[in-house]
Amino acid sequence: MTTSTLSRLYDSDIAWNFRHSWMARISTVTLLLLFAAALFAPLLATQNPYDISQLFLLDSELPPSWVEGGDPRYLLGTDQQARDLYSSILYGLRLSLIVGFASVVLAAGLGISLGLIGGFVGGMVDGAIMRVADILLSFPAILVALLVNGVARGILPPDQHADAAIWVMILAIGLTNWVQYARTVRGSTMVERRKEYVQAARINGVSGMGIMMHHILPNVLGPVLVIATINLGMAVLTEATLSFLGVGMPATQPSLGTLIRIGNEYLFSGVWWVVIFPSVVLVILVLAVNLLGDWLRDALNPKLR
């Protein structure tokens, strides 16, 4: 049973397409390396950048090890608080990916549910959901995220800001990005709900909930995968932008965006490495995700074959 499923997967169009696209393979390998680096950050890092007792202020602002004045203990150099940049990037990548994935899950869950309900129920419910979506779409995403962030910070007491930062980020980005999912799923739901297999289920007394969950949902999930992949890149970028603007992850728990902001402040004093290395990692991550998403969209689109 499992072997037949596996061999069927291997023989499928999409697997063939994957084996014959060097772009897809390179992005996948890059992403897997980055995911592994983030997952095993505590093992790969030479110090814990969150632990102040491990930092030696005398080692601050050291250049990368291969540059004159560099220290072999600090491969990519240190920042002004003597944090090892290599370790900081690993931990920052971890935070960026956690926020990215969690916000995609939140946005997809919210968007799929609302799109499914709107498309299936129709009428006033559909109208209400879609008008909210339209309003959200008329603002730039970063503005909505800033708004959610500001409101959350206003509600929470100041001493919890640092701890809650990651949750606030996930909420802010997730609430911004659900519209795309909702629109796509709503459209496909309206197509599926008219099909005869849905009528057959209604004749047989299956409830509206049962039809939505068991009949329509599996048939509308295809495009969601593509959106979710491309959305992951967007979410990581939004997180970096918010952190760069200083409203995201705090300096004590830096994400990639926070590291870039810190580095940016010292750029003109000749400390280039603090801004360059996190930026390169961020660019590679987002580029790999987007290339994979583009490939997936083309591979799943029968019109482009």
């Binding site: 005869e196 009528q199 004749i203 007394g205 299956v206």
Partner: protein, 339 residues
């Protein structure tokens, strides 16, 4: 005389095609309705087949949807074995709906592409609770698959692995899984090749014989109708215009529209018939003609036909909705053309 299994009286369904209120206010348009089903009466005896025929858009598929509760009638009654169905939703009440099933037109849309065949066939049994035990249900699925001419191993496959005819067999297996007495068949063969059509029709006749099923068969294909029906109802723009035993419709059609339909069937044995070809297209159902809906195309139309709606009255062993037939003008007209 036994009571019919299904008795439909004065069934009406109109769809509101009006613009939204605000648009109407500005454009000054009136409310627009299309009367898809405009007062249909028929009944079906247990174990027999009634076919509804007519051009596309005449409301025959709407009748099927009304019976199954997929849409609600605007007026009229539908009694199934003494149970009133008007106002009841699909699947409700379960103990009555279990006994009515439907076979759909498009075998490529009527099976969920993401479900395995066994799950598709088992769905009605699970939903209506006729076989609560999963292993028993699975056994019944295997039996049904073999009963409709597939194999038990096919239950593990997905619908896309089958041909159109095989999919229609799966549809039939699903429909008979709850041991229904009444099947609505909405053009079950129109999406199939002619050779496969015959197989499916034979299977359905066999089912009728073995399970004592009652069919409401909806189609536009008169060859299919001839093969399967006991009674035939001819529909035109939402109204039944003629309802008669099958052999009588083919031997002695009364209503001018029925005659038109029969003449358009390409059939060697009918080659000697005069081509009495009424002019015109099917009128727009939103603004049907006054009086008899058929009058613009009818060679026998008089002023009375253009103003007064004909009633659906008995005529011999059939019922006809035509002034010309009821006035005795129809037979003379045919006679005159034969001379």
């Amino acid at each position: 005389m036994s009571t019919p299994l299904l008795n439909v009286t004065g069934l009406k369904k109109s769809f509101d095609l009006s613009q939204p209120f605000l648009n109407r206010l500005f454009s000054g348009d009136e409310r627009k309705f299309v009367h898809a089903v405009d007062g249909v009466d028929f009944s079906i005896e247990r174990g027999t087949t009634l076919s509804l025929v007519g051009e596309s858009g005449c409301g025959k598929s709407t009748v099927a949807k009304l019976l199954m509760g997929l849409t609600h009638p605007s007026d009229g009654n539908m009694r199934f074995d003494g149970n009133e169905l008007a106002g009841m939703s699909a699947g409700d009440p379960p103990d009555v709906r279990r006994r009515m099933q439907m076979i759909f037109q498009d075998p490529f849309a009527s099976l969920n592409p993401r479900w395995r065949v066994a799950r598709i066939i088992a769905e009605p049994m699970k939903s209506f609770g006729t076989h609560p035990d999963p292993s028993e249900r699975r056994k019944e699925v295997d039996r049904l698959l073999e009963f409709v001419g597939l194999s038990a191993a096919d239950g593990e496959k997905f619908p896309h692995e089958f041909s159109g005819g095989q999919r229609q067999r799966i549809s039939i297996a699903r429909a008979i899984s709850t041991k229904p007495e009444f099947l609505v068949c909405d053009e079950p063969t129109s999406a199939l090749d002619v050779s496969v059509q015959a197989q499916i029709l034979n299977l359905m006749r066999e089912l009728q014989r073995e399970l004592g099923l009652t069919y409401l068969f909806i189609t536009h294909d008169l060859a299919v109708v001839n093969y399967i029906s006991d009674y035939i109802g001819v529909m035109y723009l939402g109204r039944l215009v003629e309802l008669a035993p099958a052999e009588q419709i083919f031997a002695a059609p009364q209503h001018p529209y029925t005659r038109l339909l029969l003449e358009t069937v390409p059939d060697i044995t009918m080659a000697h018939r005069d081509m009495e070809r009424p002019a015109g297209e099917v009128p727009n159902p939103i603004t049907p003609p006054m009086g008899c809906h058929f009058n613009p195309r009818c060679p026998l139309a008089t002023d009375r036909c253009r103003t007064e709606k004909p009633e659906f009255l008995p005529y011999g062993s059939s019922r006809v909705r035509c002034h010309a037939v009821q006035e005795g003008r129809a037979d003379q007209a045919v006679l005159r053309e034969d001379l």
